[in-house]
Symmetry: D2
Subunit: 348 residues, 4 copies
């Protein structure tokens, strides 16, 4: 089986090493270059000894032409603001790009600049970029040149909300998202917010109604609902390394049972192997998807209040970043979307 | 200074040993008897070596008459269902009782039975029991014979909601409570839900809209609002030992800023040393109250959605159990409510 | 490629589900039966929802004849004492057995009974069982009918000690092993020692010089040294789910540098892909092998004291149990020993 | 009761805020100044909201004369290298000093410089400084002007070793110390070694035979033994916030039972309320001293190997830093050594 060659920019971040973990076992991919702006020339095992014997080439620097000589597709696991400038050069060099920063997710440059506080990439590229929520936009991803990989919170939240919103079962104005994340979501940079002694045995709220994933969620929900949707969105930092849980609340527009919901979701996600719907009365926990590309979803419909509670969990580093990026590579190439991703969650 | 004598039934649970920790430093209290139905005769240090040299008397059995001979006031840190039967005997023996089980919190026996699945105590006792939410019901607690100590979730939630609900700033029908707890809330009993390997690096949802603290919260909120209040209530198990965070959502009935809220709450809790209101733009984390009797509260008012988010945190074992029970003892006796409770949170 | 059929007895323990995780991706294996004495008839996803969509057959009961009809090889991930009785029946039914209990590790039945407090299996079987320390005994494992899979502590300790002991560089009478384990090593059974609130933010010592892995370590070291070796062995419970670290101390019999040691170990483990030797001045951490079959080893030789410190880490559930069992299956069948095990550690 | 006035330099480190936690409840102390070189002028609650309502004065800058005007005694919880320069100025300004850095612990300046890589303070001050291992050097601490507070590892290790070494029961050349610490020991500075995602679910070794606490331990043990003692010393970073465990190995010079050891230690530490000796067959866990000034010690004497294993645990932030510093203040002033320190461990 012929292999394509891929490069990874931002190899020394958590998204980058997770791409490596999965791509090492991908039957159609050869890792042609692992790239780090800050550590070029050093072995990646200096910072990540867990890759000893697995990745032996030294880290390359960021040179679009050199990347294009070595690779066909490039993953950019770079901070927001960096990708916006780098990606146009990579595309110009003839590469196909899967971008894990947030720079190409918001179609409206002005909205991007309000939430991200950076200058937006040029409008043409924003339009060209396909939003890679694999289960929903798979058809557009196929053959795309630039894929904007969704954020971690949006992935868990959108997969949990879209079927019921699309069906008109909930009031679009009533959506409240109480989201919780493990600490790896903050990246490998050091700061007080990632200091062990500050986070262990602690539960913190941050960026209430201010998180830059809000416009991404609202853009997608508005499209599904056919009207402008505004959400209340709270993010919590939980004392664990991986995992996101979105606990989503919405008012039901009719009398729907949990069984109705299970059926609706199982139909909507039929043939989508990475979404698993729990039966009525069961809800997923983050550890049940740890290390895997699954998104698990459960429901509670409360007749006392007429509200629906949706629980949606992912591993933020996998389905919320590297895993979905590889799923998008598979879709982009027209392959089986599970290639390289068929790993069971690690439990316990 | 003369001391009163207290007994603790249920000394070998987490609430029990926390009562001991604080009461050892209480200037007006002598611990006259530490009681355990299951371990009578053994030293408490067998199960709790951290109390070595601190508690040297052996555990006593549960004998109401014997307790009444030794003590003036008794804390019952017993499972729900047990207190309902034991407390009448303790009262009959002439003791004053502070009950930490849920058995005397719900005024309506039928409602109790629906949520607790036990037979309710007799109606007379339910009526007699004062609900010991110290900051709110301090006046009734003074001189009471039977105090029903609030649950951990209700304490964090009610202290966070009452001022704004009482003032009519929020829509009583819009309240959604997303609550998170550390594992100690499940008690010391062994089960899969408290197994380290199942909980570590995991975030779980349980009892969605089914938790027995719901009627307790609704009873109190309904009284404050002057109308029946029904809430959506989700409980999460978080990988930490102590701490509760209630993230509370409600629709605002007018345009209130965070500064308005801070001012309202600081006024309402003036002279209440255990409630601390964060300034606008800051929210409390559970570790900021770890090991202490504080309840810390912060706000976010979202002009985009017209919703208010309230963050309220406590240490579930202290303000959510033993600490508030001692605060109620202080109020009951007419003492300064901070006696024995003036400990700073342990940080980090 | 033709597949063999395997059965797993004890599927609902941590060793069992980890066997399933790896075997699902093994190119030469079909899981023919997942077996649980306690949960026969139920779906395994009831207790382990992380396996949703991955294992759909219900659990089978323990019936040696039925197992032999379905499978060629059986893994027994059963408690010690149970395997001793079951394995003879499985062998009699014509199955090849890889046993993960400790029942067949100690060649001398009397020694077994002293440390395990059970009756030993019959001497003939003890003799027949091949001790499956894959890197050391690979030749004997090939073609064996009964493999006794090593314990978790012995695996980390023996791989760390054998090269230097065999070479005569250390004093066999001076060996001290300070071992630390994550909580999953205690299994899924519920008890106070696995209660989250008791273990989190805690470091505990247990079974000092009394652990049943001592005779297993001494038996193997004595064979290597050609003389009776007695060790000091302490086990610690660490607040993490997976991982074992053996910190091993021994007196050096000559002046050996860390470079000498690195060279010796790299030579000894040449062609053994699952042992990785850190260069001088670097030591492995447990997370660097998390979820993988690696054993990583590092050294410090102290000229001030003439002592050698060896740091050896594994994932107790993988190289210390399920992973090495599959490695032994591969060796037994004459396959490449890495089949199904080529997973990178999960980091972070 | 008259109070003395104290100042704390380094208030915004973990040692500093722990001094505040205990001193707030000290009956003979008034906190006159909380000082931070980096945050002077700001409220301490900006970085430490857990102190809300408890510490309301803004942070002062580091000015020896100003400190001397406000306070009688000063705690210097500063990094090593800083204290060496600051303390002479504080003494010159007429203050008594309790120093928590390591700068005055090593009597031999040359040895200090080898291990600390800074210039040593002048010899006269090194001589003047009393090493404040409270239980051992209490007599010299009384009335001292400059106390050098012991390191965290040395405190746990020395209290565990001194009685048996002094009695001549162990071979001084055989001592091996396997030490484990929580992450708070690394301070509040941010670096990869304190990053949550790197430490959680991880056990790491660092500074094998290279830790700067080695000369401190050896200096004290040599004095006790009356001969030069050299130790093997390994430090491990454990996924918890607080706690140190020293697992100490030594060869016994005679046949001593665990009962003999318990008796010896209970005699040696008679009248020392902060050392608790476990009975034979029980060993302390770090959580049993969490948040308190206790050092708990247990033993295993192994007749098979003739070796003694000593387990000694402390809370590194309390008995290993702030708590012992206050104990030394009490001794220095001639007060009961438990003043302000009578807090039970926080459990669970």
């Amino acid at each position: 089986m012929e292999k394509i060659k891929v490069a990874i920019v931002g190899s020394t971040g958590y998204g980058g090493v997770e791409l490596i973990r999965f791509l090492l076992g991908h039957p159609r991919v050869e890792i042609a270059s692992v790239i780090s702006a800050s550590s070029a020339g050093a072995p990646i095992t200096e910072g990540f000894p867990h890759l000893s014997n697995l990745v032996t080439r030294p880290l390359d620097g960021v040179d679009p032409r050199e990347i294009a000589e070595k690779a066909d597709v490039v993953f950019t696991a770079t901070p927001s603001g960096v990708s916006g400038k780098l990606v146009p050069q990579l595309l110009a060099a003839g590469l196909r790009v899967i971008d894990l920063s947030g720079d190409f997710r918001i179609k409206d440059g002005a909205v991007y600049e309000t939430w991200y506080k950076h200058e937006a990439p040029e409008a043409g590229l924003l339009e060209k970029a396909v939003y890679g929520l694999s289960e929903v936009n798979g058809a557009q991803v196929k053959g795309a040149e630039l894929i904007s990989n969704p954020g971690c919170y949006p992935t868990a939240t959108l997969l949990g909300l879209i079927p019921v919103l699309r069906e008109g079962w909930i009031d679009p104005g009533s959506i409240i998202i109480d989201a919780k994340s493990g600490v790896s979501g903050a990246g490998r940079g050091t700061s007080l917010i990632t200091h062990y002694a500050e986070i262990n045995e602690n539960l913190k709220v941050y960026k209430v109604n201010k998180h830059q994933h809000i416009p991404e969620i609202e853009q997608c929900l508005s499209e599904v609902a056919g009207e402008a949707v505004t959400v209340t969105f709270t993010t919590h930092l939980t004392p664990m390394t991986r995992g996101i849980m979105s606990t989503i609340y919405a008012g039901l527009k009719g009398t729907y049972t949990e069984e109705n919901l299970v059926e609706l979701y199982r139909q909507y996600y039929e043939g989508k192997p990475f979404v698993r719907i729990r039966e009525s009365g069961k809800w997923p926990a983050t550890k049940e998807v740890f290390g895997s590309n699954y998104c698990d979803i459960g429901f509670a419909a409360d007749p006392r209040t007429g509200r629906l509670t949706i629980i949606s969990v992912i591993d933020n580093v996998v389905k919320g970043a590297a895993g979905q990026a590889i799923q998008n590579l598979n879709l982009m190439m027209g392959w089986d979307e599970t290639l390289g991703l068929q790993l069971s969650p690690v439990y316990p």
